[in-house]
Each structure stands twice: as structure tokens, then as C-alpha cells.
Amino acid sequence: MLLQTHEKESGKPRNFVDKNVLSLKDVKKHFEGLKAVDGVDMTLNETEILGLIGPNGAGKTTLLNVISGLLMPNEGEIVFRGMNITSLPAFKRAKLGIARTFQIAKPFGLLTVEENILVGLGCKLHGSISSLFQNCRKKEILQKAREIINLIGLYGYKDQLTSSLPIGLLRKLEIGRALATYPSLLLLDEPAAGLNNQERNELSELVRKIREKGIPIILIEHTMSFVMNLSDRIVVLHRGRKIAEGSPSDVANDPLVIEVYLGRKGGKHAS
């Protein structure tokens, strides 16, 4: 029941040619001369975890912002489940089923854990006039919220204000809040940053569980062991461009990637 992938509302038949969940075509995003994302082509398949890695300033988070709609690309096209979403604002993309977490956790600090989840559950309703009158604390809604809180293992903290939670729980909360929107694509931006080993293991358990529910995930991460273990496929970005793509072991042995990460003394970088 829980975490079914969300059926497309528009009812349009899915484009047959496009079997991918998400495809980016030559996406570019520039900030005053700085090419943060410089022509990235990328696709994401059904039930796949795609790891997105790259050194500092490679444009990973920018790319995620472009996909989730917080930034509009300067050029290129983004197609989500057969639908061109390039110019849709972020809240409409969220309603279509693109959910995300943030690198710097952004909980709603003055709301309790349960209320944070409820905000996510209301995703489809938000914006309509009727949302101003509808009770969000009906039994069945609270029940759904409780299921998600149990899934992320925060039940003991249900009624706490999130501003008082430690970082490890905030990351889980963010994931839970994103799951509450019943996403059909989940974007995770450095979920393991700042976590200790045990927390990280719990987190990767959670990510696996989500994948088993059939939700495709794009994962940005710096902790290599974490991303290498989880991902089915990895895309490496460097200075806004894609420099490698493939299975974790392929990418780890790619000379170009090693060079970018470890550097080579006196060597020439390919760019």
C-alpha cells in the first residue's frame, strides 16, 4: 500500500519511445559567466539508483536544482515520464512526483516531526482554496503519517519540534517528508554528509527499502563507500560536464575519474 509509485494524473498515454523515467538533453545552467552545468545529457531508468558524483564545484547540486525546478535551465530540455517539464515551476513538478531532499537539511523547524510529514502528505492538495478548510488531522491521514514515521524510524520523536533534532534524524526526516508526497522520482542531495558510521548504515538500509518499493533515485554523495555500494549506475560530473558513466566498478577504475579525484603529479588534466 504504502509508497506506491504515483500514477500520472494527466492521463495522457505514456510516450512509447521514452521508456526512461527522466531524461535530460543538453541541459545548461550559467550563473553570470560561470558555467555551473554545461551541457549534460543523462537518463534515468525505472527502479534504478543513479549515483551522481564529482569533486567540489562540479555542478551536482545545481543539476539537482534544475531537475527539481528550483532553478530554470538556460538551455536544454527535461522530460519526466514522457512529459516535457522544462519550464514548470518547482511546486508543479513536486505534484507530478519529483521529490527531493536538501544538502543542508531544511526541516520546518517550528513544526513537529509529524506535521513535517503531513506537509508532504498534502502535496496534491496544496494550493487549492479548499486546502484552507480541509482538516489535515483526520484519522486515516494521521495513520499514513505514522506509517512513514515508522519507516524512517522516528516514531519516538513524533511530537518534537524539528529544530531540536540532531542532524542524523533530520536527514531521515527529510527523506520521510519527500516520501510522503508519494514520489515517482526521488532526488537525494548528500544524505550522508555529517553522519557517523552507524547513522550512515541505517541510512543506506532506508535507501534500499525505498528502492524495493520501486521508486527510482538520483543520489548525490561524497562519501564514496556509501554511493558505490548503493548505486546501480554512476555519472561523474566535473566542471559542469559529464566525464564518465557506468557501473560503480567501471567508474572507480576509470583513469580519468581517478585523475580528477586524486590528481596526478605534474599531470595534465583532461577537460
Binding site: 567540489n56 531540536s164 540532531p166 564514496m224 555500494n229 572507480a252 579525484y261 590528481g263 603529479k265 605534474g266
Partner: protein, 235 residues
């Protein structure tokens, strides 16, 4: 020991970033601090400079405990900071950027001498004296940032991600410069993502992972170490 950190802990608000960091930098030594993004390298550098307050622990510099001192007091004791990404004062001219530091020390003659030294080190800067620093290219800005730090005649240089966003050719020349500076007797603590390049010029290194020091040792040892490779690529 020039610089000695004991059990340093740093947190942003409620979020802890660094746990029990102890490290030291000796006279005339280059020590590098390597680790993945988000490991807390920059935070540690800022903590040593005094821009970020410590939660716990103490910092010893030249035998004085400086952990309660303001950043400008630390600067006057001889610590200089080269921030990430060539941060300079964009609306001041190149010359003003350099002179600003000089204005803090008294001797006018010394200022001239040091300016000449920096111009000979970075001839490009002499050509752009009256240009606003914000109009410089990334590499030139990085040189200016190094030049600025050298103006105060520091005993210890804190270098944060000097290679980030630089052309590969520039990266090696910047590292050459750092090496030359070391030979003139300046100690350095540098953070790098570019592991092998950093370890190649440094004497010792520390590996920082998720806010903790997991490995330390001589540069050669670290370069050979399998664990370094795994913690960066996770093979």
C-alpha cells in the same frame, strides 16, 4: 611546535562538524589536510583562523593559547589565511588589496620591499595594479589572494583549496609557488581535494573523514596507503 591543536570540536548551531581534532604543524613544515568534500577541512581552517568559534578544545600558536582570540589578533601574531576560491575584496584595486594588509604593520620601507617581492613572484599583478580585483580572472585572483596573505609576513599560512576551479596548468604553478615559499621558511597547513598533488609537496598529511582524523603520517606513506585510495574512491 608552531601550531598545536588539541581535541578541537566545532559545531554550526546544533550540527557538529568536527570531533576531537588534534594535529600539529612544525616550523618550516608543510602539512596537508586531505579528505572528501564535506569532511570539514574548510571548517577546521576557519576554526584555526578564528572565523568560526570552537565548541571545545584549544589551539596553541607559538606557545600561546589563541583559542579565545579574535581573528585579527591571530593575524597580527603571524597567521595568514588564503580562503577558498580566490576570495579577495572585489571592489578594491589590486594594489589596495595588498596595501590593506600592509597598513596594519608600521614600517613603510618593509611594505615597499614586500610589495616588490610579491610582484616579482607574480608579475601579472604588477600589470593590473589599478584594476579592481573583481575584474581579475580566477587564476589572477588566486595569485592575489596568495600575495595578500604574504604581505603580512606570516609565520604560518593556512591555505584552503588553492587548486579549486583553477586551470590545470595554473594548479602546478601555484603548487610550485607554495613550495618556493616553504623554502623561504614559511610553514603551511593546506587543505586539498587534489590528494596526490598536495601530498607531493607536503612533509606530512592528515586524512579527515566525516569530521574526524582517521589517518596521519608522512606524505610518502600516505600516498602509498591503500586506505587513502579507498576512502576517496570507495573501491
Amino acid at each position: 611546535m608552531l601550531l598545536n591543536l588539541q581535541d578541537v570540536e566545532i559545531a554550526y548551531g546544533r550540527i557538529k562538524v568536527l570531533w576531537g581534532i588534534s594535529l600539529c604543524v612544525g616550523e618550516g613544515e608543510i602539512v596537508s589536510l586531505v579528505g572528501a568534500n564535506g569532511a570539514g577541512k574548510s571548517t577546521l581552517i576557519k576554526g584555526i583562523m578564528g572565523i568560526v568559534p570552537l565548541r571545545k578544545g584549544c589551539i596553541n600558536f607559538l606557545g600561546h593559547d589563541i583559542s579565545k582570540k579574535h581573528p585579527w589578533e591571530r593575524a597580527k601574531m603571524g597567521i595568514a589565511y588564503i580562503p577558498e576560491g580566490g576570495r579577495v575584496f572585489p571592489d578594491l584595486t589590486v594594489e589596495d588589496n595588498l596595501k590593506l594588509i600592509a597598513s596594519l604593520c608600521k614600517n613603510e620601507l618593509n611594505v615597499r620591499k614586500r610589495l616588490d617581492m610579491i610582484y616579482s613572484l607574480f608579475p601579472v599583478l604588477r600589470e593590473r595594479l589599478n584594476q579592481k580585483a573583481g575584474t581579475l580572472s580566477g587564476g589572477e585572483r588566486q595569485m592575489l589572494a596568495i600575495g595578500r596573505a604574504l604581505m603580512s609576513k606570516p609565520k604560518l599560512l593556512l591555505v584552503d583549496e588553492v587548486s579549486m576551479g583553477l586551470m590545470p596548468k595554473l594548479v602546478s604553478s601555484v603548487f610550485e609557488t607554495l613550495k618556493a615559499l616553504k623554502d623561504s621558511g614559511i610553514s603551511m597547513l593546506l587543505t586539498e581535494q587534489n590528494v596526490s598533488e598536495a601530498l607531493a609537496i607536503s612533509d606530512r598529511g592528515y586524512v579527515l573523514e566525516n569530521g574526524r582524523i582517521t589517518l596521519s603520517g608522512n606524505s610518502e606513506e600516505l600516498l602509498e596507503n591503500e586506505q587513502v585510495k579507498t576512502s576517496f574512491l570507495g573501491i
